[in-house]
Symmetry: C2
Subunit: 337 residues, 2 copies
DNA sequence: GTTAGCACTCAAAGGCGTTGAGTGCTAAAA
DNA sequence: TTTTAGCACTCAACGCCTTTGAGTGCTAAC
């Protein structure tokens, strides 16, 4: 598609721009990256690259900056993948394993770590309950008619909710209910818990089964925004593209809209995905890119995480970091068995 | 201390400055607040107020702005307390009661509501476990040697933690342990749970009592920053004092330091407290004021909440809002009995 | 004690020329 | 045919200057 020299020029422009955040001129490239040709030649190449849409010019007497298309080509074909030393890998692992007993905390820590390593804003989408397996259900009396529903789900997720019941239950009744529910639910996923199983419970336990189902369903309900954790929001204020407060505000406000991320970090594909600029964005967030990956338990995708930053970001490093955290997280969760 | 006219001038300056964020001149005051005297007279009064430290002048040909001392006097003696209509009170109440079944969620919602009503950054410090009363302890098997410790504390706080044990326990053993713990703990506060009670448990249950204590203590341990909830950080970006990104960054970064707020929102006094500017601040946060209050259960203080904003804030409104949320929260928590 | 008048100060805004990084084009060199 | 030196041109950024106007303090008259 692009001949060798054009590729090298494009790569030089992009890497220089990523580093300096300033439009890059032909002279600079000729000096920094020994391409063996004069600035004039590079100028010609850059003019071609602009014509074909890989570069842009903020104004006529400025250097070039990469377009979304340019970044896309860079990410797909030009950038040199970054790799870690065993030592770095170990550090991440040992940082994360500290919190590994409980999944919710583990993924929160994974997010914080990702934010800190990338110096970007990080997002982690926790597994929706549908993806998890029942391990234990416990009903605990709170009050005359309030019951605490504790759900232990695999891999080590604890959900609890206090639910108001239609009528009062004694301690003994609740224990009975708990035992019954555990019998029916142990080992099945929420997904399997269609109307069939629910009807089965009602059938088997009669009126009391109805109550079980009621408690269970209400115990499981949770708000969407509790599934998204964010960290490192303030890091983006270090980026020159956000030196204008209005832009920073727009970004931060959009970033806080947690539902937004539920949609953006879809769980379709495997591996690290990069979404550049306008490729996929909610209009509120201008000139930003997203690097995301999914994490899984035993090959089964259960959630996703990623970082957001200006389109001018160190893609190689970001992709490597997201990959590293996602795979370490998957490893730990799979070991939780 | 200040004669009547000086007070009126000071008040006029402060209220104008709060509204406009611009230094206030003598002419403006003469025009807006009919004090019945000419700008020249007001100038004289302002010169006096500056000499006694209530006002400051950014530069010689600008108007005056209030000093910390000026704000302090305004808050203590000049401002007109704001009050709410029954309708507004009801709205807040009905917004909060939606989430009142669980305390953690309730106080989070209180924080969000406070942030939204004041358009400021809000902080809520959750009650430390020491302030709460045991209601139920449940040990649930997770894995061979992992036990889920669920603590239900009054008023309706649920804590859970997965703890690794020295040796394996069967389901039956865990139930037995739970029952034993419940017997000893029901109704007592963590505070009462000194070495005495712990030793009592060990004495009564022998070796198994040791395990109980171990599980309990570890189940109760939690990180400091989990006790602080913040909301509405981005609101402060609307304030002109943060139009400079560096200042905004400094603020937001300090604001994210959750431990900081544990110290700042001490639980000493009753009622709403106002801390202005340098009166009490960590050096990172410049030119900010803090409006805080405690909330309580049946007269017993268990936590605190408040807002942070630029020293130039609508004190009357902020104080009223913080008061409103704190008292509504206290009311709901007390009703949780 | 109050106020009109006046000279004075100074930040903010606007105009203006300079600078310099960068371009595209042309014509010569390879 | 491709590369490059040379050159005229563009334009944001910067510094410098002037103007403007909001505001002051002082003085003298009311």
């Amino acid at each position: 598609m692009l001949d060798d020299r054009k590729s090298r020029v494009l790569r030089a422009v992009i890497e220089d721009y990523i580093e300096t955040a300033e439009p890059v001129g032909s002279r600079t490239i000729a000096r920094k990256h020994r391409l063996g040709v004069s600035p004039a030649t590079i100028r010609n190449e850059m003019a071609d690259l602009e014509e074909t849409g890989y570069l842009e010019q903020p104004h006529v007497s400025a250097g070039r900056i990469p377009s979304d298309k340019g970044y896309r080509f860079y990410v797909d074909a030009l950038m040199e993948p970054m790799s870690f030393t065993l030592e770095q890998y170990r550090q991440v692992y040992s940082e994360m394993i500290k919190h590994y007993r409980e999944m919710e905390r583990l993924i929160q820590e994974a997010g914080k770590l990702l934010a800190s390593l990338t110096q970007s804003a990080a997002i982690v989408v926790a597994p929706p309950i549908e993806q998890l397996t029942f391990q234990h259900v416990q009903l605990i009396p709170v009050d005359e008619r309030d019951v605490l529903v504790v759900l232990l789900l695999h891999p080590n997720v604890v959900k609890n909710k206090i639910v108001r019941t239609e009528r009062a239950f004694s301690s003994a009744e609740l224990i009975q209910l708990s035992v019954g529910l555990n019998q029916k639910l142990k080992g099945i996923t929420y997904r399997d818990l269609g109307p069939t199983v629910l009807r089965e419970i009602v059938g088997e336990f009669g009126e009391i089964g109805q109550v079980m189902v009621e408690l269970l369903v209400r115990g499981l309900s949770s708000e969407k925004d509790e599934q998204v954790y964010s960290s490192g929001m303030t890091h983006i204020l270090n980026q020159p593209e956000f030196k204008d407060v209005e832009k920073a505000k727009a970004f931060l406000e959009a970033f806080e809209q947690k539902e937004l991320w539920l949609n953006l970090l879809g769980e379709d594909s495997q591996g690290v995905r990069v979404k550049i600029g306008k490729e996929n964005f909610h209009s509120d967030i201008q000139d930003c890119s997203l690097v995301t990956a999914t994490y899984h338990v035993g090959g089964h995708v259960i959630g996703s995480l990623g970082i957001v930053g200006p389109t001018r970001m160190e893609y190689a490093r970001m992709v490597a970091m997201v990959e590293l955290i996602a795979s370490t997280l998957s490893e730990l969760l799979t070991d939780m068995k």
